[in-house]
């Protein structure tokens, strides 16, 4: 379980998270929506210990993420993360991209790492691209590679930060389909997204972020189709 407890986070004088609490259970898919600058991406960065927090606590399987004694590299193996920019390693083939972390972080043998990488690449529909260099692929394919690369570490959770925002519209579908597949397989996910249809159909719950706090959280269909908070109503009327 991921448990975010009253987290505050500032960049300089700007307080981005103003007391955020959120529990995500094993197998649950939670989508986070909200305007830009509302702090939703920052929350993911804090959960993955990429950004330190100023106040509060984040627990992942009862381990305090930001405690000094926590081995953050070890912790991140549990938390797969995919970003808006896919950041595939351009000097490696698709297969090497996916096999790198299992090999050097988990110290697997080369054969073992390659086997896992192949499996995860097939999983996201890149089974025919093993020896291709990522720069030769479309953004959608590279983003699926980023997903496979994260999955190859066998994470317990996936953190997805606006993974379709930088894609051409016609490529969004293939990436969302991949995420849908993961959700069906029971992967625990926190998705920061602007895809309201995806949030409604795939997630169990949706949280609406407004100015650093969760203004509304509830069952996915309810929040998207029948929001209770006037702020959520206003936001949704604008993005539709």
């Amino acid at each position: 379980m991921i448990s975010v407890q009253n987290v505050h986070k500032s960049f300089g004088d700007l307080e981005v998270l103003k007391g955020v609490s959120l529990d995500v259970k094993k197998g649950e898919v939670v989508s986070v929506i909200g305007g830009s600058g509302s702090g939703k991406s920052t929350l993911l960065y804090c959960i993955n210990a990429i950004e330190p927090i100023n106040k509060g606590k984040i627990l992942v399987d009862d381990v305090d993420v930001h405690a000094k004694e926590t081995n953050k590299d070890k912790l991140r193996q549990k938390l797969g993360m995919v970003f808006q920019q896919w950041n595939s390693f351009p000097h490696m083939t698709v297969l090497e991209n996916a096999a790198l972390a299992p090999r050097i972080v988990k110290k697997m043998s080369k054969e073992e790492a390659i086997e896992i990488a192949k499996k995860e690449l097939e999983h996201v529909g890149l089974g025919d691209k093993f020896d291709v260099y990522p720069t030769k692929m479309s953004g959608g394919q590279q983003q699926r590679l980023a997903i496979a690369r994260a999955l190859a570490m066998k994470p317990d959770y996936m953190l997805l930060d606006e993974v379709t925002s930088a894609l051409d519209p016609e490529l969004v579908g293939e990436v969302l389909d991949t995420l849908r597949l993961l959700a069906e397989e029971g992967m625990t996910m926190i998705c920061v997204t602007h895809e309201m249809g995806f949030a409604r159909d795939v997630s169990d719950r949706v949280a609406y972020f407004h100015e650093g706090v969760i203004a509304e959280i509830g069952e996915a269909r309810q929040v998207i189709t029948d929001p209770q908070n006037p702020l959520t109503q206003k936001f949704l009327s604008k993005v539709r």
Binding site: F83, F89, H91, V105, A146, A150, M153
Partner: protein, 217 residues
């Protein structure tokens, strides 16, 4: 009538080849040492805060801005005046290596800085440590990005090595000067020497283009 000067003959080829060899040796030393030191300094500069950078930067600025020929003469005269004169090869290697390092460090710094922070974050998010990220991601991507500049600096080092002749190192240019003063055939000899510099540099430049194509990202 016997002339004071003896024309160029085949027996001079040994001298010329010694010059070629010495040019190659001092160039290789300067490129290897300059690259290794430049890699370290370039990395430190990319990683360091402003204060450290200003300190590094000003030393590098001096090395890059003062003409190499002046650095060579000052260094070898100074060391000589201190009572421990160095062999021309040693003094030349030290100065040429540091001079090369000054340029290489800027090349590598820009290489390290060309790898976006988000790329490094992505690597860290997979559980890689800081050093694993540097070794497997930042270094290979950064080096590929600056390989053409590295090649350019290396090629100019070969040509700059001609200046080490001023402190008495018997490299290609100095051997040619000796031959010219003996034979009074400057045109033939300088054309020949030019061709030799081309022959030394061309394989590097050619091989470099091949490597560049091969690892193009």
């Amino acid at each position: 009538m016997n002339s004071l000067f003896t024309p160029l003959s085949w027996s001079d080829s040994g001298l010329i080849l010694t010059g070629v060899w010495n040019t190659i040796i001092i160039s290789v030393v300067a490129i290897v040492v300059g690259t290794l030191l430049g890699l370290i300094v370039g990395f430190l500069r990319a990683e360091s805060n402003k204060a450290v950078n200003i300190l590094f930067g000003s030393v590098l600025d001096v090395l890059r801005s003062v003409p190499l020929i002046i650095q060579l003469i000052l260094f070898s005269t100074f060391v000589g005046a201190m009572g421990n004169p160095l062999a021309p090869f040693v003094a030349g290697s030290i100065v040429l290596s540091l001079y090369t390092m000054a340029f290489m460090s800027e090349v590598f710094r820009s290489g390290f800085e060309s790898v976006s922070p988000s790329m490094q974050t992505a690597a860290r998010s997979l559980g890689m440590t800081k050093w694993q990220t540097i070794y497997h991601v930042r270094l290979p991507i950064g080096l590929r990005a600056v390989f053409p500049s590295w090649l350019g600096v290396s090629l100019s080092v070969i040509k700059d090595s001609a200046l080490v002749s001023v402190i008495g190192y018997m490299e290609l240019l100095r051997t040619s000067e000796q031959l010219i003063s003996r034979t009074q055939q400057p045109l033939e000899i300088l054309i020949g020497v030019g061709i030799f510099y081309f022959i030394i540099s061309y394989p590097l430049s050619h091989y470099g283009r091949y490597v560049e194509r091969k690892m193009a990202i």
